[in-house]
Symmetry: C2
Subunit: 500 residues, 2 copies
């Protein structure tokens, strides 16, 4: 009972970049890890370091899980869809799952650095990129600094009309009002005129007498054309999306692969699990090629998989798993293409739209090289919560058409240059069946539903890990930190038994 | 007279990335170019392509002008100061002058791409970086998204108190008010509580039960501690500072050097000019090793140099040059150091302070490598207009002390790791004597003073170029575009003579 309750103990703080179990503490203990995604690989590496005898069972023929970098020749298998084979040129790739790392994600970056994985900037914001809403394309700068200017104008007006006299002492108010004009690009009368051109130029400054002409600002109505534009307008302030962000040079799978290289002998690929059983002394995992017994188990399987898997879990655990929401069924569609966007000042970053492709991602590296992989759709509910499921249901050709139309709106006539499309529907991807649980509220919402604590509670010798058991959901960081938390539970059980 | 007036003709629009003079049009014509910075190199390359016989006279023993990448072994000579020699390890460098390129600067990027110069992201914004104002250090996110939240709260309050009822129809107002809460991180009552953590976390989200705790927001008074913080708060909205930005891999001088490689035989280094003379048929340039005669001259010398140089310029031209303001006397101080900042989530980007070092620049590339060059001071008037002159006047040791103290405020105890400091005072740098003219008003102010058009007017066969003759001052783009404008004047004169 005491052990069971430990599932609710405080986990390692995320500042612990140098997590380690006591050396030799696992000697003579056997652990089976389910899943060779980030949570499973981190668990395995740390267990191996501490002297445990570890086996990892992975259903796929590759490691990485939702960290999936697709290169030329790779197969894309989806439920109920024809197999695709990516035909990208050598050196080109699509990060179909995880694609960026916030600089604050110390655990995953710690592993990247420990194993010498090279990191480069991921450009997550581009003021020159196009935003295509309500049938009109504007540069991001016109939208992002437009709304800021309009807000500043309205507040300046309120101040000038003495609406804040009682809120702020005069000296502070005067200084603030002066700042507001500067911040918003207001003229002397307090009107937003895009003074200084933050929201765009009608004419760029040039040589000799060619002065810049500021672009006429968009109205609030033009900017806030509908609810779709809300998320894009706050996107770069989302804690996990703030500059600077990183990516491994050569593909996101470099980190998973670097950990894998450390534990390769422990990993059994193409070994889907058919049941999780408890035994008198530990666990028994049943799978295609027989069974694996161990003292402990770290289960990193996503909830949609766990939901269907026969197990000896307690009724409470089963109820919690059943109660958990479905996973976000995001879709990424990518094309190989000459880099026409770089001729239009776009070096990395994102475009946004209220079309069904929602979000476009331009490559952040190898600028000036002949080709790149353009993510033409990242349908994840950014601009329409209900879109991913609907987009996922479309045929490949329908999706590709939507992307081509969107690219032609952003870059007139250029979609003709794009070729070799692939689509990855996470909802239809075996052994994932989605990206991350849609817990009610915001992704990091502290008010998780009642069943949430039960999800990460240990079941005797079985402990649980995965991004879904963290407040960094859908991030590699959450997977790595949850592995650390699970490992501490195992370690405590081992210590407990040794003391008994 | 017609020719003279052409100095006021419209220049090439900046969209022209593929500028070219008519092939063969310069055959039999001789041009002398003064200065082998970007304006001079671009001029020379384009003249050579069009068949002109070109000679470039450059005072220094290197090309590039204010594009100056300092590596181990390089000497730093400054007026009235002991010579410094940079001791950086191999592969490390300081971009002492130009250090970043806006993605919209198509002319200079066009040359970079034409000559295969590799480009990578320059990280110009970092929400994890420290801001050190009024003796307190906060993360940039707390300041940047703090002020946004406070502004949203004040405006939400005004709306809730019906201050905008007459300004906006109800439906639009309701939608806008809803957006404002989302945008600002306001709670249901419209109070800025940093909902969602954009302005920072007190506790980061972790594994299992560790939910994130939002940081308590800073007040307007805490954020707007004084005028110094104003520029940093709007910095990333300045048109030329907006994401994405670029740098050449390996040092900013890669672009200048690539152009130089095309015209190397035409360039005479270490050849300072002593006079600019007009002759019956053209120009005669007097210099240390004799004189150079030509049909035309493109003069790219900075105004402080031109001011003292004997010439046959008209009284109007001389008066305009005399009237031009002094140049910005910016200073950069850099140290070699292990990358302690990367252990604190800082991968590229800028820190800001109201101390005398003003601005800190972290390296944007080679993350995870053992060392980097940290720009510990970029004193350019960012946070105090009068500071650069005062900072420039300090001794090296005084400057290094200021930087060390500032770094210790941002990264406690870490300045001890820094070594091999150098300082580059642009005001004391021979043949530059500053960075760019301080024209009254904003840098790109369309209302340039009356003498400005006279500065770029041709003087018979002598035409003028340089960043100071553009509305992209202090940028390589301005230098390149001004060269294009000057070349068109030369071309028009040649065509005129051929027609005569």
């Amino acid at each position: 009972m005491a052990m069971e309750a430990m599932g609710l103990a405080q986990p390692t703080p995320p500042e612990a970049t140098k997590f380690a179990l006591p050396p030799g503490s696992g000697s003579g203990r056997k652990v089976v890890v389910l899943g060779a995604g980030i949570a499973g690989l981190v668990s395995t590496y740390e267990l191996q370091r501490a002297g445990y005898d570890v086996t990892v069972l992975e259903a796929r023929d590759r490691i990485g899980g939702r960290v999936w970098t697709i290169r030329g020749g790779d197969r894309i298998v989806q439920f109920g869809r024809a197999m695709q084979r990516a035909e990208f040129d050598d050196g080109l790739y699509l990060n179909a799952g995880a694609a960026r790392i916030p600089a604050t994600h110390r655990a995953i970056l710690g592993y990247a650095r420990r194993f010498g994985v090279k990191l480069e900037p991921f450009v997550n914001q581009n003021r020159s990129a196009g935003w295509d809403f309500a049938g009109k394309v504007h540069e991001e700068r016109s939208m992002a600094f437009g709304i800021r200017g309009q807000i500043a104008e309205l507040l300046a007006k309120a101040i000038d009309q003495h609406a804040l006299d009682s809120v702020m002492p005069k000296a502070e108010r005067d200084f603030f009002r002066g700042f507001l004009g500067f911040y918003g690009g207001l003229d002397e009368k307090g009107k937003f005129v895009n003074l200084g051109g933050s929201a765009g130029f009608a004419t760029e400054g040039g040589a000799y007498g060619q002065s810049a002409k500021d672009l006429a600002p968009l109205s609030i109505k033009e900017i806030l054309s509908g609810p779709a534009v809300g998320l894009p307008l706050i996107f770069d302030s989302i804690p996990d999306m703030q500059s600077s962000m990183l990516q491994p040079v050569g593909g996101m799978d470099r980190i998973a692969d670097a950990i894998y290289q450390q534990v390769k002998a422990r990993v059994r690929l193409s070994t889907p699990i058919s049941a999780i059983r408890r035994t008198a002394s530990g666990v028994r995992i049943e799978h295609a090629s027989g069974m694996t017994e161990a003292d402990y188990c770290i289960c990193t399987l996503p909830l949609p998989i766990l939901k269907r898997l026969p197990s000896d879990f307690s009724p409470a655990k089963k109820a919690a798993i059943a109660a958990a929401p479905g996973y976000q069924r995001s879709v990424k569609v990518a094309f190989e293409s000459p880099r026409f966007w770089e001729e239009q000042d776009i070096y990395g970053g994102l475009a946004w739209t209220d079309r069904k492709n929602e979000n476009v991602i331009y490559p952040s590296s190898d600028f000036g090289s002949p080709k790149g992989v353009l993510v033409g759709a990242y349908a994840a509910g950014w601009t329409n919560q209900d879109n991913p499921d609907a987009f996922s249901a479309l045929s490949n050709d329908q999706q590709f058409r939507i992307v081509r139309d969107s690219i032609d709106a952003l870059h007139p006539g250029k979609s003709a240059l794009m070729s070799k499309p692939v689509t990855v529907r996470w909802g239809l991807t075996p052994y994932s069946e989605g990206v991350s649980p849609n817990y009610p509220g915001n992704p990091g919402n502290p008010n998780r539903p009642d069943y949430y604590p039960e999800l990460y509670k240990a079941e005797g010798p079985i402990v649980f890990a995965g991004e879904h058991l963290s407040f960094q959901p859908a991030w590699q960081e959450g997977a790595a930190l949850s592995a650390h938390a699970a490992l501490e539970l195992v370690q405590a059980m081992v210590a407990d038994r040794a003391a008994a």
